[in-house]
Amino acid sequence: MNKEHKTTLTEKPSDMLLASVVTRGKGSQLMNLLRREGAAYAVCAFAEGTIPSHILHMLGIAKTKKELVFAFINQEIEEACYQSLAKEMKLDQTGHGVAFSIPLCSYPEPLTETELAAAFIIVDKGKGEDVLDLLDELELRGGTLLSAFGGASMTDILFNLPIQPEKEVIFMVAPKEPLPKMLRTLDEKMSMSQPHQGIAITFAITRAIGLYSEGKKGK
């Protein structure tokens, strides 16, 4: 236990958040792998993934069980992390999961431009699938859905008691280019710029592995 503390805290501070989505049950293996490579901190949450299959979607089987892992790493170990992700978790092959890195405020250098960005959308429970459908229309697929709680204030009162409202979070990686359009659509269809309708943010990512590309899907 003590040894672990030394390796993580005395190193350089983390400047990157590595996010990864894998099949349910693989999260622990992934966290152990990242910790071994020197990640400062790793957490795992249950999430639901979307299947890019129209037949299953028609049947209503549109979700698979996933795990979402967040880990703090720094630039020095990034390369090693990605290599072992490709080797041990087979993320370099399609269908085994995705991973990408988000630069944190402490990130030292100017961002290297990639074609990709990540989006983070928070809406009330039940609206998550509406968002996914909207994204689907924009040819943005592969979002991950998380259940969450909370909000700006505990405004909802049920049975005379204040409660934490249920939320859904959609998390996805996409090409940079259609993202402004996505935000516009979300505003038009779900009036997100109004208060209490949800939040959508996009941010740059520096590296990604395991994404579905349109070419691979053959469409």
């Binding site: 049920l158 049975f159 249920e166």
Partner: protein
């Protein structure tokens, strides 16, 4: 898809291999008719189980979750309570096992009464307890006090009840929650819990609804027995025994399947109808949801019919035959150890257990692993079957000798285990005693009882489900206690 296949194989293969091993080891060999049927049954279970679980995920759980939304959004406690009562009542009254048990009660205690009176009593108890369970979730009353009171009442009432009646009454605990009621009520309770959450660490409140409901049904039956006063078993009628062996495979298969279709339709209909009414009036679901729920309901129906037909067609008589042959060999260790192993592997194949385990993992975000729960339940059921077989083999060993200590321990552990485990434990008791217990373990035990001197298949048969329901509660609570010890140790290490 690969994962699903693996999961299915891991749940059905152990029980299949176990029976085949016993067959080939010639401790109890099945004849060709039974063996063929057994293998066909096992294959059908492997096909039916994943289909059923997929359907439950798409429809039953979604209906429960949406109904919980409709109840909570009314923002009126009285509506939640009445809604909880009606849903609990209907779901219980539609449970096939409830009817089977009610008919047996009627025959045993008051042959002049219709079995519907007992269905009514049980369902009223179940419905009232379900409403109380929802009230508990919303008001955030600690599970430990709630369950300690329920089990305390059960303990006291047991002392005043005639012995033969105890087993019958406690068997209700297992009969009330079947493969359709389990996911529906769980989703309903989890929905209500997560919609009325004040802090994010309230996952502990989600579980327990099945156990509370079942305990309510047992209480109702016990109270009824005491009110009737003359609660001793009046006359023991002969079990009508129809051997299917004379029937050809085809006609027996058809007969079994028709029976299952009737059973599953009965179980599904109250949920579908009450959902349809609530959906039209209040929920107004989206088109996408309607499509998904309807397709899901069809998938659920098909999967469960295939699964149950497999169980009834292949497993019921095979396990009866194994029990008979093992008893005839006259060595005590054989039926005992085979019974324990059967108990262990039957838990893996139980659909309700799979559903509960997924929900536990989801709600605790994986901090309580489904596998841990599965093994704890399996060990609990193995122990339960062992005790029950002992009871058959040793006439002096009576039901209260084991039941009272078990109840006492459950009450004591309610104060020692963490809250979330108490909810999980009482739910687990209901789901562990499901289809596999009734259609695989029970016939095995009856096979032994019929061929043991001094044992009465009917009297000793009752009480088996009792232990399959009660001892897993105990083993889950013990697991919770161990968790707590470990957690406090880890805390000590950290602060040191």
């Amino acid at each position: 898809m690969n994962e699903k296949l693996k999961e299915t194989l891991l749940s059905i293969l152990p029980i299949t291999i176990m029976v085949l091993l016993i067959h080939f080891s010639t401790f109890a060999s099945l004849d060709n008719v039974l063996l063929t049927r057994f293998i066909i049954g096992a294959v059908m279970m492997m096909i039916g189980l994943p289909i059923f679980l997929q359907g439950v995920d798409m429809s039953i759980e979604r209906m429960g979750e949406q109904m919980s939304g409709a109840l909570v959004n009314s923002n009126k406690m009285i509506i939640v309570l009445i809604g909880g009562f009606i849903l609990g009542f209907l779901v219980n009254a539609a449970e096939p096992d409830v009817h089977i048990f009610s008919k047996q009660f009627a025959r045993l205690t008051a042959p002049e009464l219709s079995h519907w009176i007992f269905v009514l009593i049980m369902s009223t108890g179940f419905g009232l307890a379900t409403a109380a369970g929802l009230l508990r979730i919303i008001r955030n009353i600690k599970m430990r006090y709630f369950m300690a009171i329920f089990f305390g009442l059960l303990f006291i009432l047991t002392l005043f009840t005639g012995e033969e009646f105890i087993g019958v009454a406690f068997d209700t605990y297992g009969a009330t929650t079947g493969a359709i009621a389990t996911p529906f009520l769980l989703a309903l309770a989890i929905g209500v819990s997560s919609k009325t959450r004040r802090s994010t660490d309230e996952a502990a409140e989600s579980f327990g609804i099945l156990g509370v409901g079942s305990a309510g049904a047992v209480l109702a039956i016990l109270v009824q027995g005491i009110l009737l006063k003359d609660n001793n078993v009046a006359a023991v009628p002969d079990l009508a025994e129809v051997s299917s062996r004379t029937l050809s495979h085809g006609s027996f298969f058809l007969q079994t399947m028709l029976e299952t279709i009737r059973e599953v339709s009965l179980g599904l209909s109250p949920i579908l109808i009450s959902y349809a009414i609530v959906a039209i009036l209040w929920i107004k679901p989206k088109k996408r949801d309607i499509r998904r729920i309807s397709i899901g309901a069809i998938i659920t129906f098909l999967g469960l019919v295939i699964f149950l037909t497999g169980v009834y067609f292949g497993f019921l008589e095979a396990s009866h035959e194994v029990g008979t042959q093992l008893a005839l060999r006259g060595e005590m260790w054989l039926p005992l150890s085979v019974g324990a192993l059967f108990g262990l592997v039957s838990v893996f194949a139980e659909p309700s257990v799979a559903i509960l385990n997924t929900q536990i993992e989801e709600e605790t975000s994986g901090s309580i692993r489904g596998k841990t729960v599965l093994w704890t339940l399996a060990v609990g059921v193995a122990l339960a079957v062992t005790i029950s077989i002992l009871r058959i083999l040793i006439p002096e060993f009576r039901i209260i000798h084991a039941l009272l200590p078990v109840l006492g321990l459950i009450i004591a552990l309610c104060f020692l285990a963490p809250d979330i485990f108490i909810g999980i434990a009482v739910d687990a008791g209901g789901v562990a005693s499901g289809t596999m217990a009734a259609a695989f373990i029970l016939p095995y035990a009856q096979g032994i009882a019929k061929n043991t001197v001094g044992a009465d298949p009917l009297i000793d048969g009752f009480g088996l489900i009792t232990f399959i329901a009660m001892i897993p509660i105990l083993s889950m609570l013990v697991l919770g206690f161990i968790y707590r010890m470990k957690a406090s140790k880890a805390e000590q290490n950290q602060s040191a």
